[in-house]
């Protein structure tokens, strides 16, 4: 949710959305298939620089978001690196009397590779989401020939989330003001009441919404003026150079 807020203020907001999505996805694919730590490190640093300095996203925010999946990644990498076995094999092992936890140089290598690959993929995707608001992302999907039904639904849901959040927040505040959360049981009851109320409110709002749509001539197609943001030549050149750079670093076997 907050990512979207920053995307609206990004310095890369004026860039063509499809171009950004393509660059991020292409980088992601390259990182996965090349499978080189050096290439991953290069992507992590370069995407970070792009998001922080060109996109002007506050670095605190960026690192907080990067840390979110980090704990998850560390655990998965530990699982990859460490195996369970009956014999003391591998370069390192710990005896647990009944079984051994061991770790070979090879598995450690894989774990580190996977870890950097994952972080690199994350930073490429963050570059995309920290610079492209949801609405533009939906337009890209629409241009990629995703069925209109999906894209229009995505659009409405996206706009509606904020309205419902607002309604839920107001009800929660009102409940708090009347000691709605004074005990655990009361909190549960309040939560249930708010949930039910939210459903009724959403139905009511949907009605009002539909009336407003009709009043402005809606006839089954949700369409807006789309801003033309042409891809600039220097952007294409830079991305080409960038991809070439990743390839070179990967093939150098650093």
């Amino acid at each position: 949710m907050k990512i979207d807020y920053y995307a609206y203020q990004s310095g890369m907001r004026e860039w063509n959305a499809a171009f950004k999505v393509f660059t991020a996805l292409a980088t992601l694919c390259m990182v996965i298939f090349l499978n080189r730590i050096a290439a991953s490190l290069f992507v992590i640093v370069s995407m970070g620089v792009l998001t922080l300095f060109v996109g002007e996203i506050p670095y605190k925010v960026y690192f907080r978001y990067l840390l979110l999946p980090l704990s998850f990644m560390i655990f998965s990498c530990v699982v990859i690196a460490v195996s369970v076995g009956g014999q003391p094999v591998g370069e390192w092992n710990i005896s647990f009397h009944f079984f051994y936890l061991y770790c070979t140089g090879e598995s450690l290598q894989t774990a580190v590779e996977v870890f950097f690959k994952a972080v690199a993929g994350m930073s490429a995707l963050y570059m995309m989401s920290f610079s492209t608001p949801m609405s533009e992302m939906i337009l890209v999907l629409q241009r990629a020939h995703l069925p209109r039904l999906f894209t229009e639904l995505m659009h409405l849901i996206y706009r509606y989330i904020f309205i419902l959040f607002d309604a839920a927040y107001q009800m929660q505040t009102a409940a708090k003001a009347r000691l709605g959360y004074c005990s655990f049981m009361q909190s549960c009851r309040t939560f249930a009441a708010i949930g039910g109320n939210l459903f009724v409110i959403s139905l009511k709002k949907a009605n009002a919404y539909y009336d407003a749509l009709l009043a402005r001539g809606y006839d089954g197609r949700l369409e807006f003026l789309t801003e033309k943001k042409p891809v600039k030549v220097w952007q294409v050149l830079c991305s080409m150079l960038y991809f070439a750079g990743i390839l070179l670093i990967a093939l150098e076997r650093v």
């Binding site: 608001p133 609405s135 009002a208 001539g217």
Partner: protein, 288 residues
Amino acid sequence: MKSSGKIENIDAGRNGDILIEIKNLFFAYEEKLVLKDINFSIKRGERIAVMGSNGAGKSTFFLNLNGVLQPEKGEIWLEGKRVGKKDFKELRKKVGFVFQDADSQIIASNVRAEISFGPVNLGLDRDETVKRVEDAVEYMSLSNLQERAPHYLSGGEKKRVSIADILAMEPELFIFDEPVAALDPVNAEKVEEILQRLHGDGRTLLIATHDVDFAYRFADRILVFADGALIADGTPDEIFRISEIMERAHLKKPLLMAVWETLAGAGFVADAAAGCPRTLEQLKQKLL
């Protein structure tokens, strides 16, 4: 604030023609009669306040005027032509409706796209749409908010966006459902200035409001609804003098009128018969 070319371009010569006429209009929400036998007409360039207690049928009536709801019985005439069962889309083009809750009207995820929704639905080409959007943005002084997402705007800004939405469709008749409800005094004043400006540009305005002081100073004509019926139709001076209507419609006398009557009763005013002032400025002029 200068207004843009397109919006100024109103055929003021036609002011005074009948724009819309309602004859014997009835409307029911599943058996429950909400609007009963509504009859009246609106002339071009009029500014009309629509008053009445909550649930008197104002909003339903507006949705009927706009073609979103279809009347059970009765006729709507638009520019001298009867609106048939298949022409309700025509009504939606000619009658613009600014909803009370801007949040239930705004659907796009940035301000420019939002304003373009109406013009795009009108089937205008890209150049004309862009022009309409830009004119509306300028008219409502929204240029620094154009790229913003509606959910990060303040209440007053959202209201201005919701008015720009309708402005870009260039309807003949503007309907406002309680335009200043839930706004702070400064923002309310801004909206009132916008309404004033629209009137100055020759627009026809129909405004639902509970604010008697606003209705008294702003409107040329007041329609009063009670229990789904139109119980009064006249100038503010006429309407606010009939206590029976005021009681039925849960209205109160405008402050300025009450003050004026008190002053007149105490003999402080020389020409009490000349009519009550409608603004503070007029009151000062009359007293000094």
